[in-house]
Symmetry: C2
Subunit: 334 residues, 2 copies
DNA sequence: TCCGGTTTTGAATACGTGTGCAAACGCTAC
DNA sequence: GTAGCGTTTGCACACGTATTCAAAACCGGA
C-alpha cells in the first residue's frame, strides 16, 4: 500500500529498534520476547527484508550467475534445471543468461553478471575471454566451467571423461564387427568436441583401423545430416556422432530421407545420453554424461571456491549405454 | 585487487566529485571535459557501477523474474530463451527460477523474487496463488502469465487460441475420414489443457461425432503412452494428444512397442509445433503455438504494465500444421 | 542487597550510488 | 566591465539494511 514496508516501520510498530528487527531476520541472537514482538509486527505489516540492501552491506548477494549457450540441445535444459535446483538447496539463486551467438557477447554477458555483484559464475559450455577471466579473479568472483575445458585459463572445470568416452565408442564399434567407421565430429573449437574426436581416433588406431572419414558437424543438426550422408555414401557402415543432438538428426536423415536401416546398414553412436536417446523411436547407443554427478561436482567446486579454495579440473566417468542403434543388448556381451 | 573500486575512487582520481561520476554513468548531463576525465579515470581503474546500490536508490532493479515449470517439454526451453533475449533487448535481465513440483512451492519462489526487488514477473505455465497475486499487486509488481490463463485472477495473460485450436484438430480428423477419435488430454488443472479439450469436443460434436474416449495424460510421457494404448485398444483410429511432448511418447509407444502404423492404423495430432515435430522421425501434425509472437506479446504487456497500464488477456492464433502423422499434405486440400 | 559476568539492546555508522539544491561557472549582450 | 541567464558542479542526504560499541538489562550467587 503505502510504499515499501521497511525494517524501521516494523521496529516502530514492535516498539524496538531497527537493529533488533535486523537481528531477528538475519538470525543473530535476540531474546525470545523481542523475537516474538518483531515477528508479530512483521507479519501484520507484511514485511520482508530487502535483499538488495542486505547484499549491498554484506557484500554477498547469494546469487550465482549461470551462462548457458544452446538450449536447443536437450542436454542443457536438463543441466540448467539441475544446477538451478542444486543451487537453491544451498541457499543460492541463479541469474541465468542465455549467451548470444558471437563470442564477444559472452564476455559482455559475464561483465553484466559482475555488475550485478554475483557471488560466483558457472559457465556451461561457453568459453571465457582471458581478460575477463582475469577480471573475475581480481574481483574475487570464482568461475567454474561446466562441460567445457579451457586448459590455458587454469579455471576449475567439470567435464565428463570425453577422451575415454570417444575411445570406448571406437572399441564398441570395432567389437560389433564394423570395419568402415566414420565420425561426425563435434565443434572442434570446443574441448569436448576435440577430446571426443581424439579419444575416438586413438581407439580406432589401437584397433588398427583407419577412419573412413572425420568431418565436423559443429553440433548443428543440418550440418550433421549433410556430413552423415557424405560419409555413408563413401561406404561407412558405422558412425560416431559427436553428441546425441546431432545423432538424432543423422538417424532421421539416414532412415527417413535416404532409406537406410539402423543398425543393419549403418550403426550409430551418440554422446550424452539425453533422455530422448532412450526413446523407442531412436534407441540410441551413446556414452552417458552423468548430469547429476557433473552438476553436483560443479556446485561443490563452486562452493569450495567461494570458501577460498582453488579446485582443479575434474573429469566424471560415464558408461557406454548400448542400445538398438548398434544392435542392442545382444551384442553387449562382447 | 584492493577491494571494490567505487565511484568515489574514480572521482578522486579524475579530480571531480562523486556526483559527477554518477552523472556520467547514469547518462545525466555533464560537460564534455568532465565526461572525458571521468571516462579515462574509470577505464584506468576498471570501474563499473554497482547495480545493487543503483537499484537500491532508484527503486528499480531492471530485473524481471521468470518462473518456469517443466523444462523437459522442449516448448519451454525455447520460450525461455526467447523471453530472455527479448528482455535483454529492452534492457532488462531475467532472474530465472525453475518451479519445483508442488504448488505451494511456486508461491515461495515468487515470494523470493519479490524479495529480490524484481521489477516484474513472468509466470510461464504456472499458476499463482490468490494471496500472492494480491501481494504482487499491492507491491506494484506487475505479473504476466505466459501460456496459462487464470480467469479468476484478472491478470494480464498471453495464451494461444487453445479452444479454437482444439476445434480445428477435430475438424481436420473428421475431414480425413476418421470416425473413432480419442483424446489424450492435457492436465485438466491447466487452462490450456481444459481449453484444448473443450474446443476439441465442441468440434467433434459439431460434426455429430462422439469421442471414442477422453482420458487425461497430464502432460506426462509415461501416462500418455499408457492412455493411448488403452484408447487404440478400444478401437480408436485417430488420437488428439494434448501437446507434442506427449504425442512423441504416444507415437513411439504405438509404433515401436505395439507395432501400429501411423497414420494408416491411427492418425496422431499434437499441439505446440515444437521443432521436433518437424523432424522426419515424427513428422507430426500439430497446432502451432507461435512462440515468437507469444513472447513478443508477453514482453509488450509487461512493459505496458510497468508503465502503469493494465493489459488484459490476449489470445494468439496459430495454424494447423499438417504433416505425415495424419497423412500429410495430400490431405491438406480438404 | 550487591556484585561480576553474560546477554540483549539501541544509537550510530557504513555499504555505493542517485538526486535536490544552491553555489559556481561560462557565455552573450549591453 | 558587468548584468543576466542557462549550464555544470559539489555538497549533503537518502535508499534499507548489517554491524560495531558502549550502555543497559538480566541472572545467579554470596
Amino acid at each position: 500500500m503505502s510504499g515499501r514496508v521497511t525494517s524501521r516501520a516494523v521496529a516502530e510498530r514492535a516498539g524496538v529498534s531497527q537493529s533488533a528487527v535486523s537481528r531477528v531476520f538475519s538470525g543473530a541472537s535476540a531474546s525470545a520476547r523481542t523475537v516474538e514482538k518483531v515477528r508479530k509486527a512483521a507479519e501484520e505489516l507484511g514485511y520482508r527484508p530487502n535483499v538488495l540492501a542486505r547484499s549491498l552491506i554484506t557484500g554477498r548477494s547469494r546469487i550465482i550467475g549461470v551462462v548457458v549457450a544452446y538450449l536447443d540441445n536437450p542436454f542443457y535444459p536438463d543441466a540448467l534445471e539441475r544446477l538451478s535446483r542444486a543451487l537453491q538447496e544451498e541457499g543460492y539463486h541463479s541469474l541465468v543468461f542465455i549467451a548470444p551467438e558471437g563470442h564477444n557477447d559472452t564476455d559482455r554477458v559475464i561483465q553484466q553478471m559482475l555488475d550485478h555483484q554475483v557471488d560466483g559464475i558457472i559457465a556451461a559450455s561457453v568459453g571465457l575471454g582471458d581478460e575477463l577471466a582475469a577480471r573475475c579473479k581480481s574481483a574475487g568472483i570464482p568461475v567454474v566451467l561446466f562441460n567445457r575445458g579451457q586448459p590455458e585459463a587454469n579455471l576449475p572445470q567439470v567435464t565428463s571423461a570425453n577422451h575415454a568416452g570417444g575411445r570406448r565408442v571406437a572399441e564398441h564399434l570395432v567389437a560389433i564387427g564394423r570395419q568402415r567407421i566414420g565420425h561426425v565430429a563435434g565443434w572442434q573449437g570446443s574441448s569436448t568436441g576435440r577430446d571426443r574426436t581424439e579419444g575416438f581416433l586413438t581407439g580406432l588406431s589401437e584397433a588398427g583401423i583407419a577412419p573412413t572419414g572425420v568431418v565436423p558437424g559443429d553440433y548443428r543438426r543440418d550440418k550433421a545430416a549433410e556430413v552423415a550422408e557424405e560419409l555413408v555414401t563413401q561406404g561407412a557402415d558405422a558412425l560416431f556422432v559427436g553428441n546425441d543432438h546431432m545423432a538424432f538428426a543423422v538417424m532421421d536423415h539416414l532412415r527417413f530421407i535416404m532409406g537406410w536401416r539402423v543398425p543393419e546398414d549403418v550403426a550409430i553412436v551418440g554422446y550424452d545420453d539425453v533422455p530422448m536417446a532412450a526413446w523407442a523411436g531412436y534407441d540410441l547407443t551413446t556414452i552417458r554424461q552423468p548430469v547429476g554427478q557433473m552438476v553436483e561436482a560443479t556446485v561443490t567446486a563452486l562452493l569450495a571456491a567461494l570458501d577460498g579454495a582453488t579446485p582443479g579440473a575434474q573429469e566424471i566417468n560415464g558408461p557406454l549405454i548400448i542400445r538398438g542403434s548398434t544392435g542392442g543388448a545382444a551384442h553387449a556381451r562382447i
